[in-house]
Symmetry: C2
Subunit: 212 residues, 2 copies
DNA sequence: ATAGCTTTGTGAAGAATTTCACAAGCCCTC
DNA sequence: GAGGGCTTGTGAAATTCTTCACAAAGCTAT
């Protein structure tokens, strides 16, 4: 459906995601068209960047007019693969896992939380949102038997690689990790890592080497 | 102290942060030296990249031997500005703010949480970790009167820009935002945004355009 | 239908980042 | 103290990403 003739940069995909968010907002208030300049200002980028990003996937705009808000919204959803419901599991029922399990953004964008796992016996069996916390020892079996697309890891760094090896063996296809460690996975598995310490240290560096 | 003759890329800073994490681990188990190759494998990058990144700041290694683990750890802490205690406030006492307030990584790396703020009267006054939740209306005053370096935003997108404007006016120097929106700030303010929807959509895109 | 204003789509230029490749340097052994 | 085996530090090459700049095209008004 989408035609990735060229490899699409990760930075481009991140921006597409941002364009989508703002287009949804514009669509919600009934705006019919938006120019690359308007989108760029909303997203904090440049008009040329917006046009280039979109041009990788086709010609959606009208010269002199801009982009049709509603159509482009649909098109971006399709490009980003949001047309279908992805099934995700959350691994780790601590504070972060808790915040994630209740995060409305998941459902809003078609990500269904089909399971929550922990290794702590005290947490197993408790209700969490719609799900019940299950024993992490069941994770691999569940992943291979049910259809699970994405695993979200909210567990300590030292447990992460072990869990990754298990779920990769069980056929997971993508991982979003909040564990502050780098993960080894086969090349066909998509992985993103969110590392708060890294973000904070980036700010610390910026404060130290500029604003001083 | 550190000598940023050239502008340092953000990607480089992120990797420095990762090198630091693994070096701390190696230091903890008493390893004396580490080669660029070993660090690269741990961090999932290349030896050349490791050497290039470090070379922006000096020559820390010994040819034939590698890098002195303990010294380089110290040096990286200094480069990243972790020698001092940064004071941070958390804005938004919801699930994410809660996870953040109790996040040990902050204190471990010298980030002191000196305040938690919310606009919900039911939350104001409750104890949160060491802090008590304060009224968000006091935030700007507190930022300008106390010494606050970094604000961590865990609030809805629609409230974010308003809070940003207030704390920028009050003299904040850096912002870490979990609000899924782009923030307008003057150029001397450092900003990082963590956007979960964006990460998930990146995975969705990858699943759609490859693994299919 | 034409003129004038606007905005897209896109090669080409430019900038930034990563990778290459190798001389220089350090350690150990003989 | 000379030779061999490693590993760093770094210009230069390669690659990737962003910005430029302009022809092509749509809309409105006359």
């Amino acid at each position: 459906m989408t035609l990735p003739h060229k490899r699409i940069a990760e930075s481009t995909v991140r921006r597409l995601s941002m364009y989508l968010r703002y287009l949804e907002g514009l669509d919600g208030v009934g705006q019919k068209t938006a120019s690359s300049d308007e989108l760029a200002q909303l997203c904090g980028t440049t008009p040329a960047q917006v046009r280039k990003d979109l041009s990788f996937f086709g010609s959606f705009g009208k010269r002199g007019l801009g982009y049709p808000v509603h159509d482009l919204t649909d098109r971006l959803r399709e490009i980003l693969g949001l047309g279908q419901a992805w099934q995700i599991v959350i691994v780790g029922a601590g504070k972060i896992g808790s915040a994630l399990a209740e995060y409305r953004g998941f459902r809003q964008r078609g990500f269904q939380v089909v399971g929550v796992y922990d290794k702590n016996p005290e947490k197993i069996g408790r209700a969490w949102g719609d799900a019940v916390v299950r024993d992490i020892d069941e994770l691999a079996t569940d992943v291979s038997e049910q259809h699970v697309d994405i695993a979200v890891l909210a567990i300590p760094a030292e447990d992460a690689q072990d869990v990754v090896d298990q779920i990769v063996g069980a056929g997971i296809r993508a991982i979003l990790s909040f564990a502050p460690t780098s993960l080894r996975v086969p090349p066909h598995i998509a992985v993103k890592t969110v590392n708060m310490a890294m973000e904070l240290e980036g700010l610390s560096f910026a404060l130290t080497n500029r604003g001083a």
